[in-house]
């Protein structure tokens, strides 16, 4: 049951993008078409889930026992960078078609604040989803990461759909491009605020 609450909370109530602002750069850059948005989201879900799993284990089995929590930032980003490299190599071998489709997005995931952000959040904050505040265990952390990435994807796909329509509309010159995208994102964020208090 708690996993369902975690998923609802991460996708709607505390959407990683619309409520926590993580992942905005790719959001603005990649979301002009629904198909690219969907592809990028899939890659992000995959990387975020695995990255959170590995960094979680690293935090609790290496950093804390050795008392070197201050190395967290360096360790986590190296894990993520290495992971993305590995995913690229594996994907190239297993599914060249998918690799081609994702193109430039894969290396970009390394600098996606959402990936590093969620990895850090999961080992630093107590979560009060459907009960007393507590630190998430491994399974909950991975579910939370995957669900956050799903929320990122939902927001991106919704946004891409709106942007495809916006391209056909008569937008004033000064608003064209990023400004109107931001204002639209704001209205989307406003609508997601309606989910507050759901969990």
């Amino acid at each position: 049951m708690e996993y369902i609450l975690i998923i609802i909370s991460a996708v709607f109530v505390n959407n990683i993008l619309l409520a926590q602002f993580l992942g905005t750069c790719p959001f603005l850059g990649v979301s002009n078409k629904v198909s690219t948005a969907a592809g990028m989201s899939g890659a992000v879900i995959f990387v975020m889930a695995i990255a959170t799993l590995v960094t979680y284990l690293f935090q609790y089995y290496v950093l804390i026992p050795l008392g070197i929590e201050f190395m967290q930032t360096v360790a986590f980003i190296l894990v993520i960078a290495g992971l993305v490299q590995m995913v690229e190599i594996i994907l190239k071998k297993i599914s060249p078609a998918l690799y081609q489709a994702l193109g430039i997005f894969l290396p970009l995931i390394t600098t996606n604040c959402a990936v590093l952000g969620v990895a850090i959040l999961v080992v630093s904050k107590e979560f009060a989803i459907g009960g007393d505040p507590h630190m998430l265990n491994m399974a909950q952390s991975v579910v939370y990461a995957a669900a956050s990435a799903l929320g990122f994807g939902v927001a991106m796909v919704l946004f891409a759909g709106i942007r495809e329509q916006l391209d056909l509309a008569n937008v004033p010159k000064a608003f064209k491009g990023t400004p109107i995208a931001l204002i639209t994102a704001g209205i989307l964020a406003l609508s997601f605020m309606g989910f507050a208090g759901l969990v």
Partner: protein
């Protein structure tokens, strides 16, 4: 490029927020007040400058294929130093800025400048470049933070301007997107008037 223009280009011509559209996450997440935006800007300036210095020092010794991981390690180290310093000397600001401090590591501006400029130029030039872009970023963040604080809490740098409450939406998530969008519109208009 003259040394002075290195410092000033970050303010208008190559403003990281409004022209290069980089570093959006902290711009949206830390500008709930003018002070927070200002603090975040300075923190990023610190990292930008130091990492530019370090990277321009070692760039010649680093084999091309490992340069990105090396740059990332150096940037992450600088960010960690910043984290420790802030925890010791500015704990309140550190708590407010929260997760966005370690996220400076993946701020596209930092790695971008390292790759595009610091790895190819002298230490002095790279330092100026880091400070210049950092100043531009600080300015943008402070501007966005001031507007959001004015509209959302009717105060500026913590000083209340009137007895009423502001329009709450501006210090919440949607307000961040909307304010930034409109500021960009104004910026675009300003640019097209000047050119």
């Amino acid at each position: 490029m003259s040394k002075l223009s290195l410092l000033t280009k970050g303010i208008i011509k190559e403003n990281p927020t409004f022209v290069l559209v980089l570093g959006m996450c902290p711009t949206l997440g830390t500008t709930t007040s003018a002070f927070n935006g200002f603090g975040m800007g300075l923190a990023t300036l610190f990292v930008l400058t130091l990492s530019n210095v370090l990277i321009s020092l070692v760039a010649k010794q680093v084999p091309d294929k490992v340069r990105i991981p090396v740059y990332i390690v150096l940037i992450a180290a600088v960010v960690t130093v910043l984290q420790l310093l802030m925890q010791a000397f500015t704990p309140a600001l550190y708590a407010t800025l929260g997760i966005f401090i370690p996220l400076i590591v993946v701020n596209c501006i930092v790695l971008g400048r390292a790759e595009a400029y610091a790895s190819k130029n002298s230490v002095i030039d790279s330092t100026m470049d880091g400070i210049g872009i950092g100043l531009g970023f600080t300015l943008s963040l402070t501007v966005v933070g001031t507007i959001r604080e004015l509209l959302g809490s009717a105060s500026i740098f913590g000083i209340k301007l009137m007895d009423a409450d502001g329009m709450l939406v501006f210090v919440l998530a949607p307000g961040a997107f909307i304010v930034l969008g409109y500021i960009m519109v104004l910026f675009n208009k300003l640019k097209s008037r000047i050119s």
